[in-house]
């Protein structure tokens, strides 16, 4: 189970686009909680996902126009803790891992 925290501007459809990232993959959304967070909003999602989906979701959410930040609340997702979108980091470790 993964916990995701996504900050976003509360513009039309942004929360729905975030949720759609999960629903289009057929993921059960175990819990969802959205609330005001400073000048923005934050939604906390609990999803049962595999590591590949974690990466896909991170990048897909970040590609949404009004998403500001994507974060994770579990150790398994620590590799995504770098700058957004996270695919540009850890080049050496990626290369080494797949060498």
């Amino acid at each position: 189970m993964q916990i995701f925290q996504i900050r976003y501007r509360n513009t039309q459809g942004t929360l729905m686009r975030i949720l759609n990232g999960a629903s289009r993959r057929g993921l059960d959304i175990t819990s969802v909680h959205a609330e005001e967070c400073g000048n923005d909003y934050q939604v906390t999602l609990t999803l049962n996902v595999n590591p590949k989906q974690v990466g896909q979701l991170y990048r897909e959410w970040y590609a949404i126009a009004d998403v500001i930040h994507v974060g994770a609340g579990s150790p398994q997702a620590s590799e995504w803790a770098g700058p957004h979108p996270p695919a540009g980091v850890c080049i050496e470790s990626r290369t080494a891992a797949r060498a």
């Binding site: 700058p83 695919a87 080049i91």
Partner: protein, 567 residues
Amino acid sequence: MHKGAEIVLQCLRAEGVELMFGYPGGAIMPLYDALEGSGIRHVLTRHEQGAVFAAEGYARVTGNVGVAIATSGPGATNLVTGIADAKMDSVPLVCITGQVRSALIGSDAFQETDVFGVTLSLTKWSRLVRTIDEIPEAIAEGFHWARSGRPGPVVIDIPTDMLKAKKEFSGPVKFTPHARPADAKADGGFSDTIVAMLRQAARPVALVGAGAKLSGAIPELRRLLDDLNVPTFATVHGLGAVPPQAPYYLGMVGMHGTRAANMALHETDLLLVFGARLDDRVTGDPSRFAPGAKIVHFEIDPAQLDRVRPCELPVIGNLADTIPAFHAELRRHPLPDFSRWRAVACGPERAELDPRGLAQPTIRFLDELFSRLPEDNVILADVGQHQMWSAQRYRSASPRGFITSGGLGAMGFALPAAVGVQLAKPNTCVLCVSGDGGFQMNIQELATVHRLGLPIKMVIIDNKYLGMVRQWQQLFYERNYAETDLSDNPDFVDIAKAYKIHSWRLKEDAMREFPVSSETGDLIDRFLSSPEPELLVFDCAPEANVFPMVPAGAALSEMLLEEEPTQ
């Protein structure tokens, strides 16, 4: 005081819109009422799907934002396929839809559809306008998202009372994107890393996709590829980015790609990807895609990375920036000698399609047709066998010269898209190749072609089947041709006549002699050089197949070169 509709049109003009495509209806009527004198030409199609595909054609060939207009309810839902198509193929598109009166929204009013909700997962951005004051900002922001980064579709849904309302209007606004934490971008180090990877590689290859064209970095890419001089191939949307005569170019890759390209991709140990999504039609079985390769992925949209197969080195950014940076570094370091690998990958044994495929009359016909086109041409292909044959035989170095619905595979795309292309390029020879199934999906746009007198050259490859589906049925469903028989097709020549479009028929027997007879050659020349719209129906063998073919779920190395092995 200005009506909302007038404000919409002024804002569109401010975004550079000169041409838009649409179909009127109740909720959007105020916009049509304000059209005259707006400075924007509106083209009436005969179906909203025709309008959105025409807008896509215009956008794909120019790189500008295409605009489609529709009314609420069915008008808006008829746009959906085009919106999905624009999303898949990264086409900048703004759709403006009328909506029922604000007070009726949510009441299931006549012709009310939640188009905002319906298109939410297909759009980059969308807005249901709630007040007339929001209109300028919505249009400015919509155009920003449509054309920025990886281009895509936008929907702006405007209730009819907002179009009728009046307000003081001081002029269009500029949209400034909201700041976000710094996006990860390729830093300077990526060039060193790629050079190091190249120096360790024995069998490097390059794969070119649509992103190379969208970035506008074709000259830079071609210079880089010339210096790299490694086996190179393209996706269907990458066709034209690399000159076909380049000695290292192997043609199209993927499900119906060339044997040479697919084999090189299967055998490579270093894959450089320039602006391609690596979807399943390109990769085949992802678990066996380029099995021994490290992947360097140049891509503007991070959401496209690692979708099918993780890459070792993502290079995020506009190719117009990252390619020159990499090339500059490459020039400072001599590369290893890849000539032995080139000789294998680009050698004559792999260089051609199977001879049996080349002998097909339809392929000969397309070769004949393409070779007789004037230099300034655009080819559109619909979806199906003719699309893949056309892609396989495409030999132009024009980056925006081959247009098709590649990602979504939307039958019926080509004819209305050709309308948009021809309007954008009035002096260009626009050749629209369709199948008999797809042509009937938007056949009503013959009326648009006739009304505008567009000299589009339309070709129907008529095999009286849904040919690609039938091919799969033949190869993988034991010839159970369930519901793919179109032998009761109408006479397309008569249909064209009814639309007052001159039409020809050519039997495939005309292509059995090589070279073709002077009569056949003259017919094709007259067809292509006519200043009027023309339709040419080519009678194709019902069971002609597209080869090579990588069966779904197979590795690229497991392509079928002809049908016998599966029998």
